[in-house]
């Protein structure tokens, strides 16, 4: 965050509300089984609206606040650039078209659910979606190299978090409180110097 002023100066920004709307619609429509993978790919890698470090910090905030993470992220990003209007436009962009689509799909489902191919395709896409989410996680690990706590400590925290949520299936709220609280307390001490 310290290098933010010069980093912002050279980074592309969304130029208009309509660009914001269509960008979020486009990325929402690419996101099967969750949009987060696509958000990182589009906003960080393609449009370069955020760095990996900013993305991970914003996402941490979006994750801790209640509500769908990706929608929180869109709101925060739109609000940052165009105020309340930007937040509402980003929200509409990420929701409106996918909502219409899912309602249509739900009504069509009754007709097509009997085809064996449909269930198989869903299975296959589900497996790919899992891989895509994992890949985003691995990509973001890289951004922890610049973390004040040091890469190894970050990895250790991450590993405990994976075991708690993925393997032991503990409630997320508790995990965020305990592990997140530890991370925040350690960072707070480190930032004091």
């Amino acid at each position: 965050m310290q290098s933010e002023p010069d980093a912002l100066a050279e980074r592309p920004v969304p130029r208009s509300l309509s660009e914001l709307f269509f960008s979020f619609t486009w990325l929402a429509l690419q996101g099967f089984g969750g949009v987060l993978t696509v958000v990182q790919r589009e906003m960080v890698e393609k449009k370069r609206w955020m760095s990996n470090e900013e993305f991970i910090e914003e996402w941490a905030v979006a994750q801790v606040l209640p509500g769908p993470n990706v929608i929180n992220l869109a709101l925060m990003f739109g609000g940052r650039h165009f105020g309340l209007r930007g937040a509402l436009v980003s929200l509409a962009g990420i929701i409106a078209v996918p909502l219409l689509l899912v309602l249509v799909l739900a009504m069509m489902y009754a007709y097509f659910s009997s085809y064996p191919g449909v269930a198989g395709a869903l299975r296959g896409m589900g497996a790919v979606a899992g891989g895509l989410i994992a890949a985003t996680g691995f990509k973001l690990l890289k951004s922890l190299h610049k973390h004040p706590l040091g890469f190894r400590h970050c990895l250790a925290l991450g590993l405990v978090c994976f075991v708690a949520v993925g393997l032991m299936r503990l409630p997320l709220v508790a995990v965020l409180l305990v592990l997140g609280g530890t991370g925040v307390a350690l960072s707070y001490r480190k930032l004091a110097r």
Binding site: G79, L101, L103, G126, L144, C154
Partner: protein, 194 residues
């Protein structure tokens, strides 16, 4: 599917439904899907507004279609409306539940994010953002793990695991278009390869 519900909900009940989602919205730390167990308790077990199958189908369809996962909430509203006997009521139900799940959390997020941004130089705000950051990759990998481990039979499901593993490497190391990968996965599944 096998069981048909016919409901005659009045305004007080629709209001209850709306308020239930308003409350869940503020509890949905980590995404709306984390409150699905409570929705099941309320909608299926307590109020009998949805059948078990209808509940599961709503989640499955939302997972399989593009867009944020929270859209499964709209499908529950839709189905409750359809159970009340009409498409228009269904659409109203979808809007009502979406509004309920989104309004409180988005208002809170917008204000909190603004406050955080205005005070981003504060030590506490910086420590908060950076302290949570190491958990983000871990949570993503854990989510992927949960999705894949739902297919828990090694004999029949190993091709799915291999697919997920290969996808992880391709998407991590290359810039292959994500839709291309999903399309390939869909095709392999359609023809029963995986």
């Amino acid at each position: 599917m096998n069981e048909v519900l016919t409901l005659h909900m009045g305004w007080p009940e629709w209001l209850q439904l709306f308020l239930h989602y308003v409350v869940l919205s503020l509890l949905a730390v980590g995404g709306a899907i984390t409150t699905a167990p409570d929705m099941h308790r309320y909608l299926v077990d307590e109020q009998h507004w949805l059948t078990d199958t209808q509940f599961n189908t709503a989640i499955a369809i939302a997972q399989a279609s593009p867009g944020p996962n929270v859209l499964f909430v709209a499908l529950m509203g839709l189905q409750i409306g359809l159970n009340n006997g009409g498409l228009m009521i269904g659409l109203m139900g979808a809007l009502l539940t979406m509004l309920g799940i989104l309004l409180p959390s988005t208002t809170l997020t917008y204000s909190a994010a603004r406050w955080c941004h205005d005070n981003r130089q504060l030590r506490g705000v910086r420590a908060f953002k950076q302290g949570m950051a190491p958990l983000v990759p871990a949570l993503l990998i854990a989510t992927a793990w949960l999705l894949v481990s739902a297919y828990s039979n090694p004999v029949t499901d190993w091709p799915l695991w291999v697919t997920s593993a290969i996808t992880t490497v391709i998407a991590w190391k290359t810039r292959t278009h994500l839709l291309l990968l999903l399309g390939l996965g869909g095709l392999l599944g359609w023809f029963g390869v995986i």
